[in-house]
């Protein structure tokens, strides 16, 4: 009950930290998508590049989040942005790359050869084929990648409080420092709640953006 009372008492701050959290995750997801999806598509056309790109994204994933935030500080300090939201968002964008690039790459690669062949043979340009056929067919898997990235980043963003980025991580960090269990649990609870919420939201987006023919295909395959 102490947790609910804590949230009630600090409602203004809770809302503020929540909005900060969502802002960081949302912005990093938008930037991450803008980089990752085109990159994932590009490497389906350049086979020798694919391995390198995916491996790089893999390596980024293996760096512990606290270390990555730490690494961002001296690098971004060069442009005077060593602390706060900028290094946090940059790190989140980097983390989101693996699920986004890998899912996009696999989804486009898995478009049946016969479909691609028919399209090419009928005189579709590469761009037309991508727009009309490959991307729509790949859509559910691409969105699934974004979904993974979003949920993962909600968790990782909580750690960004350590580099002064704000967000719900602030409660966890300060709670630990001040040995204030209600504060820690409030932060953790809200982060989890957001993760579940966003996961559900993205599931809806996935459903809406999947072409009906592909949905039917999956239904009938069951």
């Amino acid at each position: 009950m102490g947790v609910l009372r804590f949230i009630e008492k600090n409602l203004d701050q809770v809302l503020f930290l929540s909005s900060e959290h969502i802002f960081m995750v949302g912005l990093s997801l938008i930037i991450g998508t803008a980089i990752g999806v085109p990159l994932g598509i590009l490497i389906t056309k350049k086979v020798n590049l694919a391995k390198r790109v995916i491996n790089s994204a893999n390596i980024i994933m293996t760096v512990p989040s606290i270390a990555l935030f730490g690494l961002m500080m001296p690098i971004l300090a060069l442009i005077g942005e060593g602390l706060g939201k900028v290094p946090a968002i940059v790190a989140l964008v980097l983390y989101s790359q693996l699920p986004i690039i890998r899912n996009t790459y696999v989804a486009i690669k898995n478009v049946p050869t016969s479909v691609r062949d028919a399209g090419k043979g009928m005189g579709m340009s590469k761009w037309e084929l991508l727009r009309e056929v490959e991307i729509p067919i790949a859509m559910p898997v691409i969105i699934a990648g974004l979904r993974t990235a979003a949920v993962m980043n909600i968790g990782i963003a909580a750690i960004a409080a350590y580099i002064g980025a704000g967000g719900l991580g602030v409660y966890i960090q300060q709670g630990i420092d001040r040995v204030y269990p209600e504060m820690i649990i409030s932060g953790a609870l809200l982060v989890s709640l957001f993760a579940i919420l966003i996961d559900g939201l993205m599931a809806g987006v996935e459903y809406l953006l999947t072409p009906k023919g592909i949905r039917l295909e999956k239904m009938l395959a069951r």
């Binding site: 049946p112 691609r116 399209g119 090419k120 009928m122 072409p211 023919g213 592909i214």
Partner: protein, 376 residues
């Protein structure tokens, strides 16, 4: 018209080089269906894919309507050729109507014109537009999907159709049907068709000419009849099979062997006695009874003995009707099954045309094989 001129295709380089096509030269006349035939790995599909530049050409050239395809814009080239493949490759994310309308949409037809064309094509391939227009590929059977595949290839009315084993993945019963429908379609479409097949039956049935390949070389390029009756060498003879005399039966149609003036014809109103007398004089075992241009059935001397009245009341019905387009293979099969060695041929309205007899089929096959004995 398509001309293949000393076409060579080599995959890979140096030690790993594989020659898929070697010095292939032949040409396909406008409006003809040419079957590229051969076992897998003989280069037939490669040749087809060179035609719309899905494969590059190593040496030689391909001329379409007299123009070198390498000088043409590749997108334009492909859009003037319909392309149908074995795996069909319908776009699963698009409705049937959108699948068929892909090329018209790319070349900028307005949506009304596309919709009208889609309905026209669906009707042509015998799928009801109201039912199928808004369905998705996954909701159709394999046979239906390939009908859509054919419709899609025909959408922008290209002169040329490239078909890569289009009916190979369809079950035998549906295949037969879709082949027949396609033949009927082609009768008034008059497209130039390049058709890859590994099935000699299909080749004989569908082709105006057959190009038989072996290890990237063109071995024989002839009409199905010549290929079956005068194979150039042992490879061709083996490929068409020891039963090629039976395969010839598939290209001989009833109209080729029909006897238009049979002597065993009697009128319905003739009297039984007169007919019996006539049959005994001519030594006929049976006679076909005709009334008002339509065949009623047949009579035999046994049946007419001691009978009076008109023969029309004494006829026995024939168990089958033969149409002009029935192949000799089917006719012969009926004859063997029914133990009946003369059948009659009727036109679409059921009017009597003539008769086919076992001996006519035999004579025709023998004629086809005249001069063929040395190759066996």
């Amino acid at each position: 018209m398509i001309c293949y001129d000393h076409l060579t295709k080599i995959y890979g380089e140096g030690k790993n080089a594989v020659t898929a096509l070697e010095d292939v030269t032949f040409s396909i006349e406008k409006g003809q269906t040419v079957i590229l035939l051969g076992p897998s790995g003989c280069g037939k599909t490669t040749l087809l894919r060179c035609t719309n530049r899905l494969e590059s050409i190593t040496r030689g050239e391909i001329l379409v309507h007299g123009q070198d395809i390498m000088d043409m814009d590749v997108i334009q080239l492909r859009r003037q050729m319909g392309y149908v493949i074995q795996d069909i490759g319908l776009f699963p994310n698009k409705t049937i109507a959108d699948n068929i309308g892909v090329v018209p949409k790319l070349i900028g037809w307005d949506s009304q014109k596309i919709a009208a064309r889609v309905d026209e094509l669906l009707t042509m391939v015998r799928l009801e537009p109201e039912v199928f227009r808004s369905r998705y590929p996954v909701e159709l059977s394999g046979g239906q999907q390939q009908r859509v595949g054919v419709a899609r290839a025909l959408a922008a009315d290209p002169d040329i159709l490239l078909m890569d084993e289009p009916f190979a993945a369809i079950d035998p019963i549906n295949r037969e049907q879709i082949q027949n429908e396609f033949l009927k379609l082609q009768e008034h479409l008059e497209k130039t068709i390049v058709f890859v097949s590994h099935d000699i039956h299909e080749a004989v049935k569908m082709g105006d000419k057959i190009a038989l390949f072996d290890k990237g070389r063109l071995v024989q390029y002839d009409t199905p009849e010549i290929l079956l009756t005068r194979p150039k060498n042992k490879y061709v003879a083996d490929f068409v099979g020891a039963d090629r005399a039976l395969k010839v039966l598939g290209i001989i149609l009833a109209k080729d062997i029909v006897n238009l003036r049979p002597r065993d014809l009697v009128k319905g109103e003739d009297s039984a006695e007169d007919v019996l007398k006539m049959m005994e004089e001519k030594g006929l075992s049976h006679a076909i009874v005709i009334a008002h241009g339509k065949p009623l059935g047949y009579v035999t001397p046994q049946k007419l003995k001691y009978k009076k009245g008109q023969v029309r009341d004494l006829v026995e019905k024939y168990p089958v009707h033969i149409s002009e387009r029935t192949p000799a293979r089917d006719i012969l099969s009926y004859m063997l099954m029914l133990d009946f060695f003369t059948l009659y041929v009727v036109d679409e309205n059921g009017e009597f045309i003539g008769t086919v007899a076992y001996n006519d089929i035999k004579k025709k096959v023998k004629e086809s094989y005249a001069g063929d004995l040395k190759t066996d």
